[in-house]
């Protein structure tokens, strides 16, 4: 698996472009690698991770910069192509590169809603916690580096996949197991005084807790959701976005007075603090608007949302919610205009499945022949949208 196809390198010279059509890279010249064989063929001066220096993402892992860029553009098909190409041409030389590529592959497949294929790829993995995936198992490649080379996202995807395949209970079990695992790592890194890692693992703890919160909320399991969000707030009591979400949860199950009290707390944070960034002001404005929505004072809600949009015209939550309020004010035409203009003005911010679902509901109400309007929208979407956009949301 770990065949070395790149020529020996001098650490000071830039890495040569990998040339997939090079005559050297025929399968016959490549041999399966044992650690000793590798040691003898590599230059003793150069193993990127050992002297801890890499001058670009690409030096860390083959073509990583490009993979990263493609992921931010939502070009998941291109990523899958890159991965199969790199594998076919044996461009990946180090164990961690294979893991990174596998993670990208599973991520891409899951994003493209091909979860059974993603699950299949995950089955090819060894036990995460075995020696296969530890740096110290390959001292020639990673001298002085210790620990697990498994990308955390791969663990997370492994936990998530059952939910994508309809097995929610298994998914939840795996996520809770993952949470325990993360907490063990926090304790471990604390005892080893690895502060940077402690911070990172604590971030991962909040990540998994947030993910669990989303799952429980989606299933309206409010008791456990409240417990989780309380735990998150304990760790970040002054995060206005987090506290606002507590307010949304309270609104979701109907505790309006509780939600108002929570939003007041967030507003106090804005008034007391020095941070008067637009983001914060808009957060407070949107919270106020929600209180108006609950009280059915849609006109007041629209005014709040308009202030938000004036401060930041890419505030898509304000745009979407304003349109809904206009509809509740019987102004379906303007509601549609607001949505359509946002898609035109700030397409990459505005194009999300929920906004499209709302717009299509409005089309269905407004036009007897709504299929035409939806088809036009769909055509535009296919030109602009990323690979992972779920166009079934147009219900055509």
């Amino acid at each position: 698996m770990f065949s070395d196809s790149s020529p020996p390198m001098d650490p000071d010279s830039p890495q040569p472009e990998s040339n997939p059509s090079s005559a050297d890279l025929t399968p016959a010249t490549v041999q399966p690698i044992e650690p000793t064989a590798f040691e003898s063929s590599a230059s003793p001066d150069f193993t990127p991770l050992s002297d801890q220096r890499f001058n670009s993402l690409d030096e860390l892992t083959h073509d990583l910069g490009s993979l990263h860029e493609l992921s931010t553009r939502g070009s998941w098909e291109a990523i899958l192509d890159k991965i199969s190409q790199a594998r076919a041409l044996f461009l990946l030389t180090k164990p961690h590169e294979h893991l990174t590529y596998l993670t990208y592959q599973v991520m891409a497949l899951t994003k493209l809603r091909r979860s059974d294929e993603a699950s299949h790829e995950l089955n090819s993995l060894h036990d995460f916690d075995g020696t296969h995936y530890r740096y110290e198992s390959y001292p020639e490649i990673y001298p002085n580096r210790k620990g697990s080379m498994v990308p955390f996202s791969l663990r997370w995807l492994y936990a998530l996949i059952p939910t994508k395949l309809g097995n929610r209970q298994e998914g939840l079990d795996r996520l809770y197991t993952l949470l325990d695992f993360v907490r063990d790592r926090i304790r471990e890194k604390e005892s080893q005084k690895l502060d940077c890692s402690v911070e990172l693992w604590k971030k991962r703890e909040r990540f998994v807790m947030s993910c669990l919160l989303g799952f429980h909320l989606g299933h309206k399991e409010f008791g456990v959701s409240l417990d989780l969000i309380k735990e998150l707030i304990k760790r970040d009591p002054l995060d206005p976005v987090l506290v606002s979400k507590l307010g949304y949860v309270q609104m979701q199950f109907g505790d309006i007075e509780g939600a108002k009290a929570t939003f007041n707390r967030v507003e106090e944070m804005l008034n007391e603090g020095k941070n008067d960034e637009t983001q914060f002001k808009n957060l407070v404005g949107r919270n106020k608007a929600l209180v108006h929505v609950v009280a059915k004072d849609y006109a007041a809600a629209v005014r709040e949302y308009e202030e938000c949009i004036e401060r930041d015209n890419s505030d898509v939550i304000a745009v979407n919610n304003k349109a809904l309020c206009l509809m509740y004010l019987r102004d379906l035409s303007d509601a549609i205009k607001v949505m359509e203009s946002a898609l035109e003005r700030v397409p990459t911010a505005a194009l999300n499945e929920s906004l499209v679902v709302n717009l299509c509901s409005m089309y269905e109400l407004a036009y007897v022949n709504h299929t035409d309007a939806k088809r036009t929208l769909n055509t535009w979407i296919t030109r602009v949208a990323p690979d992972d956009f779920d166009s079934s949301c147009t219900r055509i």
């Binding site: 210790k146 620990g147 309270q250 109907g254 929505v293 906004l355």
Partner: protein, 432 residues
């Protein structure tokens, strides 16, 4: 909602959408922190690796791409993985509707023909088994015209107070392009179901069990018991937990949320006779205890409210005759007769009796674990008003272990009324 229109080509058509409150979109996204993908999980054990990676990542961030969907993949704020951004979704289906809720609907009349229609009178009504309720009527000021491709919109609201089948009848009376006066009725049916059942049990305590029959979880905003005037009611609930200090009062008490589809919550009240009611208890007759006012909320505070009917208490009367076991020997052995002391009390203000005390025979003719030994009937003389009589019964136990002295009755031979031994007494039967 299902709709049926009349025959014949119509220029107009009704389109209807139920407007309950919008809901929060909840969908945990596939978004990550690049550190978790681009390197191994223990990569940052070496701080210089971590800072190098961070530097390389931020330099790629600086390149602002036109078609960037980074927010669909990279985490911006730590709470992004929850998938609760505050974005609202329109109701995606009609859903279920329950008694006590408010039915609200957006109604749009569209002109899908190629010419204008004029003089449009629109009506919207709710038709139930019992009545027809008018929600909207523009006949006093009809809509002058609706151009081709145009629309006239309105929103109607109705508090649902009846169960069962409801029909939203939308009708339009208009002049079409040929000047013909046409009538378009459209019918949208829905069914109103019962959201809750309230079962009560009481002695001097009233326990109400509220069961949720809806498809949503119900946040119990208010459950108030309004006692009838001869009672005062005190709500009993478990101790409130003190608010955790670091949250400084956020979510002080766990909210009462009744789970959808059969979840229950119990409410307990202690009922005390109000001070102005006369002291002497009655024999028979039920008493009205009071009724419940229940307000609940669902998604985004959507309210519903119900009142129960009057709840009746069990008769507060005392029994005329009270028969009970006063004493049994400390050791009772299998198949060895023992003597139990009993008491018969006349709780009325007149003479009752004489009485015949015996063991009831049940249909199965099975041997009772504790039976009367010897003569199966004991005669007791008449009792004066409020008088009582202590007597002995010779009993024998035929089974080991915990057994009950039960099934003993006293028959008033004159009035032919039977009184049971209450309460049943438990004894422990040892072996010889």
């Amino acid at each position: 909602m299902s709709s049926t229109a009349t025959q014949g080509p119509h220029s107009l058509a009704f389109r209807v959408m139920r407007l309950c409150k919008p809901s929060f979109h909840v969908d945990p996204p596939l978004r990550i922190d690049p550190f978790d993908l681009l390197s191994g999980e223990d990569f940052s054990d070496d701080p210089s690796s971590a800072s190098l990676l961070r530097r390389h990542l931020s330099s790629t961030d600086a390149v602002d791409s036109d078609l960037s969907y980074r927010n669909r993949f990279l985490i911006n704020h730590p709470t992004d993985p929850i998938g609760l951004s505050g974005l609202l979704l329109l109701p995606q289906s009609f859903g279920a509707i329950y008694l006590g809720e408010t039915f609200c609907s957006y109604i749009s009349v569209n002109n899908s023909s190629t010419s204008q229609v004029r003089d449009v009178t629109i009506k919207a009504e709710i038709q139930t088994e019992r009545q027809r309720i008018l929600l909207l009527d523009t006949s006093k000021s009809p809509v002058e015209s609706i151009r081709t491709g145009g629309r006239y919109d309105f929103i109607v609201e109705h508090d649902v107070k009846e169960l069962g089948a409801h029909t939203l009848v939308c009708s339009a009376l208009y002049n079409d392009a040929d000047g013909e006066r046409k009538y378009l009725p459209q019918f949208f049916k829905f069914v109103v179901a019962n959201p809750l059942s309230v079962r009560t049990k009481e002695t001097t305590f009233l326990e109400a069990c509220i069961e949720n029959h809806t498809k949503s979880n119900l946040f119990m905003d208010q459950v108030d018991f309004e006692p009838a005037k001869q009672w005062t009611a005190l709500r009993l609930h478990d101790q409130q937990h003190p608010p955790t200090s670091d949250l400084a009062g956020l979510i002080p008490n766990p909210p009462v949320i009744i789970r959808s589809g059969g979840g229950i919550h119990n409410y307990l009240y202690k009922l005390v006779p109000s001070s102005d009611v006369s002291g002497q208890p009655k024999f028979q007759g039920s008493s009205i205890l009071g009724k419940f006012q229940i307000t609940w909320r669902t998604n985004l505070g959507e309210p519903g409210r119900l009142q129960t009917q009057q709840i009746l208490g069990a008769p507060v009367s005392r029994k005329e005759i009270n028969m009970r076991v006063v004493e049994v020997p400390t050791a009772i052995h299998l198949n060895r007769p023992f003597s139990a002391s009993l008491n018969l009390t006349n709780q009325t203000d007149r003479q009752l009796g004489p009485f015949e005390v015996s063991l009831t025979q049940d249909e199965s003719q099975m041997e009772k674990p504790v039976a009367i030994n010897g003569l199966q009937k004991l005669m007791l003389p008449r009792l004066e008003a409020f008088g009582s009589n202590d007597f002995q019964l010779n009993l024998i136990a035929s089974k080991l272990g915990v057994q009950k002295i039960a099934g003993i009755t006293a028959l008033d031979t004159r009035e032919k009324k039977t009184y049971e031994l209450v309460p049943e007494m438990e004894i422990f039967v040892e072996s010889d």
